[in-house]
Amino acid sequence: MTSNIHTYQAAPSRTRPGQTVDPITTEIIRHSLNSAANQMKRALIRTAYSPVIYDVYDFAAAIYDSELRLLAQAPSLPLFMGTLNFCIEAAVEAVGGIERLGPGDILLYNVPFGTGSHPQDATMVMPVFLEDGTLAGYTAIKAHWLDLGAKEPYCTDTVDVFQEGTIFPGVKLFSAGEIVDDIFRMVLANTRLPKAAAGDIKAQAIGCRVGAEALARVVARFGKPLFDRSVEHMFDHGERVVRSYFETIPDGRYVARGNMDNNGVDTQSIPFEIIVEVSGSDVTVDYSDCPGSQRGPINCPLPTTVSASLIAISMLAGANESPCDGHFRPLKVVTRVDSLFHAVSPSPCFLYAWPAMQAIDVIYRALSDAMPNAVPASSGGDVCALLWWGVREKTGEAWATGSPHPIGQGASAHGDGATLSHVSESATRFAPAEVWESKSPWLIERVELITDSCGAGRYRGGLGISFHFTMLEDTYVTTAVERTQLPPWGLMGGQEGHANGVRYRRAGEPMGEIFGKVTGLKLHKGDSLELLTGGGGGYGAPEERDPRAVHEDIRNGYTSEDHARRHYPHAFAA
């Protein structure tokens, strides 16, 4: 069995003792690289066709050095943090190595086990060459395409990866700057939304090129030797920042459990365990005890398991700094090959992100034993995604839209939880009701905080939201909602919040039962669907809550008087 265990860790520092580098040059290079990644992001957002890219920020744009170490990544989707090296490596290997690539080439790669995602997350990889032909590094953008030919535009019930979309295993989409028409036509022939794919391909290529030019400019300006030395120094600096934080975590072995509602195909729930081990300034996140690969699409490929670990840890320790490879050095990720957190072909993985999102919460739960002040209680723990499509009555036009939805955040030693998107998609914005109504045949009856949905505590959790849609035309919906059975836990005596849930009502009938996942549910004109996003867990014992805060919450209708009297009797003492 041990041969099945896989360990991932960033390459260690290779600065030799006594090697000195000008700290100012290092800082200028660091900022220039971050700015270069930002320029990639700006160019992508400016030119992208799909709102899932320019509004939801469902992409990653990053720059790597020639040894696949992360130089800079633009702030976008945290769950895509720091792991494009897997797909760069796989894509370059697929075409026969870097010697087979030249300036202006861009590879298309979307093998889920290399990208870490479903096939819709298409990655474009561009090698960056200096004028003398030396390889300076790579730019890469992974972005969610609206459709790449899965059995439905969005699925919760696939049983192998081949039902999930067309796979491009590292192919030249651009050769010497020119689009390769054969491949391009293959892509367009395999999507329900070819316009969107064409537009987003163009945008991704522009983004890769902007980053490549910026990287080449920085390297050329300082010269490769000085650049390389400074980059080592930059990595060391990042490592020091993270280690200085990790040293504050008491050594120990911390374990916490999570629970997936089901795998999308079968009904039973799937408990799993994550172990976090801290020793000095080294942290290991161990997933090797998790259940094996699932029949339904909740298998998470290795790169995203690594990303989830990185983002959980970076958000604790990163001091709000943009990450580079050095930040990741103190972290080790252990997985078991062919398991829930290390999917291999042909395991279905359309909902790969859902176990990863929960893993972030579970890592915090584990660390709460060691440092309860440094982590929040559990959030609703999910992005609560709804994907809608149909054909408009009047015009006969096909339409599709979708969105994640905010949840109540866990409370922490810093105070009450807010209502925000899950940390794995922390930059994501959901669309205003007026925009939605202008393009989709619904009436949105309600987007409102749910009274009493928060966990009680010295600090209470954030409230969940009720989204209530009434259909004005027949519509299909896929609901990708997890954590309907495992309510967000509290910390330090704080109480649980409400779990996520979806329910619907046929016209004229009462509301149905709560559920989480369904693919392609047909709603008729007049039917309603309600999404109830979870509340956050509370922090600290409720009896420690300031009575003034209890009454303020009643006044604002965040909690009812009943709820308050039940959880905070001390606030009503005569």
Partner: protein, 676 residues
């Protein structure tokens, strides 16, 4: 006669510029900003710079202020109540769900400007097409009025869903609120903005309700004080979206003035570009606290139709000025991982940089420039002489921890600052698809001309322009403002033959409303937001008008959109298009100024004086010619290295740059050869 003065309040200094229409003469002054009572700084400047006769003879006063902004920053405003559509009272609090500091686990949005118990639901619903889905329940408004009275609400915002498509319910609610006895200010969302996106429109309405009282009080007090000093002209305030509005209008539409400060420099840059034919520019406005940059294309600052302030969206035209916390007062420090970092903390005007000798001990960018000799002898117009020893001591404290000497630390601070500013310029230009190397750099503000050559070298920009009165250029920019009013309306419709009469109907109504705000005759402009059917993002296309009506055909509109789309996205679209919003502007230019001040023809080179300073190009200290700006000859190239002094700023000209004074008294710096 069209004498006018402009006053721009910055974070550190309040800048003043007076233009005498008879002579074309310009008078400038610079005084410290007085944050607790900003009008005091304004009055100080007027008293220093003008005689009572000049004040009395002034026809226009143009103002850029941060009063609205500060009211928001300090959250000192009215007690606001909000009436919202039932089911949507939490729009303000839910925002769009995003985490502004995305890597900060504990980030929490600031509390909404209206607490939940003052956000009250009203039954009634308008559909997306403006149809009434459920009639309004006015008893809900009456109940709310009672709560507002009890809670001491002085200002109410009414923002109903889809009110942009049909304002009936908002108007009915306003009337019911008045009938119920509420006599405070009422802001209606459809009057603030005719565009969709309820979070943005509601927030803008609430911002208006929150700041209007404070803004009116300030503007009335300032106007009163100026009147007492004999000012009989018209006071105007800069709008966030370029152009100016009267104080009276600003009292009822305060939300339009939130960014009036930083916009002035961009407005001036646009004016300069148009009048001197400078072409496309990018600005580098460096003050005491911040660096502001803006792209000027086709003679106008880039305009957005939504701004942002303290993390809140403002749905109103907004000049795209980007700021980073990097200025003359920015403090250098060592970060957690042991690297040197500059800003965003600033030493401000008090105590100011260490070299001011007013008790500052932390090293700032100004201290670095002082030690490197980039500020020449260091004598400021105010009579203050920079103390190089104090600057060295401050720099030493940081340098010791990096094993760097004082000069190395100073060079590092300048290089880091220049790199951060250059990155900001790259990002703002790349976003527009513009290569910064094709632009000229317009450097102004107290420390802009100091940074011009460094920034240009970073960005490979071959030309730097330093305008006259560069240190007070923002205030000068105010003088360029036209009186403008704008309005926008979202109405989604297919771009076909039927669209043109519909747009004309909208235009009639919208221009009518603008005229009702103030009846003066004006130039009318309009533009359309157009997009492909199925897409969310639109492009703004300016359209020609005749007597306020569209003169373009459907084919022309389609063609213009396709051109613009191809420029932006690199693809020529062939699918159906739709109009999303119609935008209109009415513009009343102030009387044209006679001329941009001419350079003196009789300038004399004077005796050569030099001082040692550090050259970033030569990477060593060398002798720099020290020149008074007024003494430079017109049209005769002078070679760098040189340091050009004038009362409110200092221009650093590195080796390898040539200075030419053009006929309009701009310093034109050109690089001798492309830098490797």
């Amino acid at each position: 006669m069209a004498n006018r003065f402009g006053i721009d309040i910055g974070g550190t200094f309040t800048d003043f510029v007076y233009y005498d229409d008879g002579t074309g003469e310009i008078t400038v002054a610079k005084v410290p900003t007085t944050p607790s009572a900003p009008e005091q700084g304004c009055l100080n400047a007027v008293e220093i710079a003008l005689t009572p006769e000049q004040v009395a003879g002034t026809e226009w006063f143009l103002h850029g202020t941060t009063v609205g902004l500060n009211a928001l920053l300090q959250r000192r405003g009215a007690v606001v109540g909000l009436l919202a559509t039932e089911g949507f009272r939490d729009v303000l609090e839910l925002r769009r769900g995003d985490r502004v500091e995305m890597y900060n686990l504990f980030w929490t949005p600031p509390p909404p400007l209206v607490p939940r118990h003052l956000r009250l639901p009203v039954r009634g619903r308008i559909r997306t097409d403006g149809e009434i889905h459920r009639p309004i329940a006015l008893e809900d408004v009456r109940v709310a009025a009672e709560t507002f009275r009890r809670e001491g609400v002085t200002s109410v915002a009414i923002a109903f869903l889809n009110a942009y498509a049909n304002p009936e319910h908002e108007l009915a609610a306003e009337q019911a609120l008045r009938e119920a006895g509420f006599n405070g200010a009422i802001t209606l969302s459809h009057k603030v903005s005719g565009e969709y996106r309820e979070y943005e429109r509601t927030t803008t309405s609430v911002i208006d309700a929150f700041v209007s009282e404070r803004m009116s009080t300030y503007l009335n007090r300032l106007q009163g004080e100026l009147r007492d000093r004999g000012f009989g002209g018209s006071p105007l305030i800069m709008r966030s979206g370029s152009g100016a509005m009267t104080f009276d209008e600003a009292c009822t539409r305060s939300f339009e003035t939130i960014m009036s400060g930083p916009v002035a420099g961009a407005e001036g840059a646009g004016e300069l570009s148009r009048r001197l034919g400078l072409g496309d520019l990018v600005t580098a406005d460096v003050g005491g606290t911040s660096f502001d940059t803006c792209l000027i294309a086709n003679g106008r600052p880039q305009l957005m139709f939504e701004g942002e302030v303290i993390g809140l969206p403002v749905q109103t035209p907004w000049v795209d000025v980007r700021s980073i916390g990097s200025g003359g007062g920015s403090i250098a420090h060592i970060d957690v991982g042991g690297l040197l970092s500059v800003g965003p903390q600033s030493a401000g005007a008090e105590p100011g940089p260490a070299c001011y000798g007013r008790g500052g001990i932390e090293p700032t960018m100004t201290d670095a420039a002082c030690v490197l000799g980039m500020l020449g002898s260091g004598e400021l117009a105010s009579g203050l002489v920079l103390d190089r020893a104090l600057a060295s001591t401050a720099l030493q404290r940081v340098g010791d921890r990096l094993s760097l000497d004082v000069e190395g630390t100073a060079r590092g601070i300048m290089a880091l600052s220049a790199a951060a500013m250059a990155n900001a310029i790259r990002e703002i230009t790349i976003e527009q698809g513009v290569d910064p190397r094709t632009l000229k750099l317009l450097a102004f503000g107290g420390a802009g001309p100091l940074m011009g050559c460094l920034l240009a070298d970073e960005l490979e920009i071959p030309t730097v322009v330093v305008p006259p009165h560069a240190g007070n250029f923002s205030a000068w920019g105010l003088l360029a403002a036209d009186l403008t009013r704008t309005k926008a309306r979202t109405r989604i419709m297919r771009l076909d033959e039927d669209a043109i009469p519909q747009v004309n109907l909208l235009l009639d109504g919208m221009f009518g409303e603008l005229e009702a705000r103030d009846g003066t005759a004006t130039e009318l402009e309009a533009s359309l937001d157009i997009r492909l059917v199925g897409q969310d993002n639109s492009l703004n296309i300016a359209v020609p008008l005749d007597q306020g009506r569209l003169t373009a055909s459907t084919d022309q509109l389609t063609g213009w959109f396709a051109d613009s789309y191809e420029r932006t996205f690199g693809l020529r679209p062939d699918e159906a298009m739709e109009i999303v919003s119609v935008r209109v502007t009415s513009r009343t230019p102030l009387p044209q100024r006679q001329h941009i001040p001419l350079a003196r023809e009789d300038a004399d080179t004077g005796p050569e004086k030099t001082l040692p300073a550090y050259s970033f190009r030569l990477k060593r200290t060398t002798e720099f010619a020290i020149r008074n700006r007024d003494d430079l000859p017109v049209g005769e190239p002078v070679s760098g290295p040189a340091i050009i002094t004038e009362p409110t700023t200092t221009t650093y000209v590195d080796a390898g740059w040539t200075i030419t004074v053009d006929a309009a008294a701009c310093l034109i710096l050109t690089t001798d050869e492309a830098q490797s």
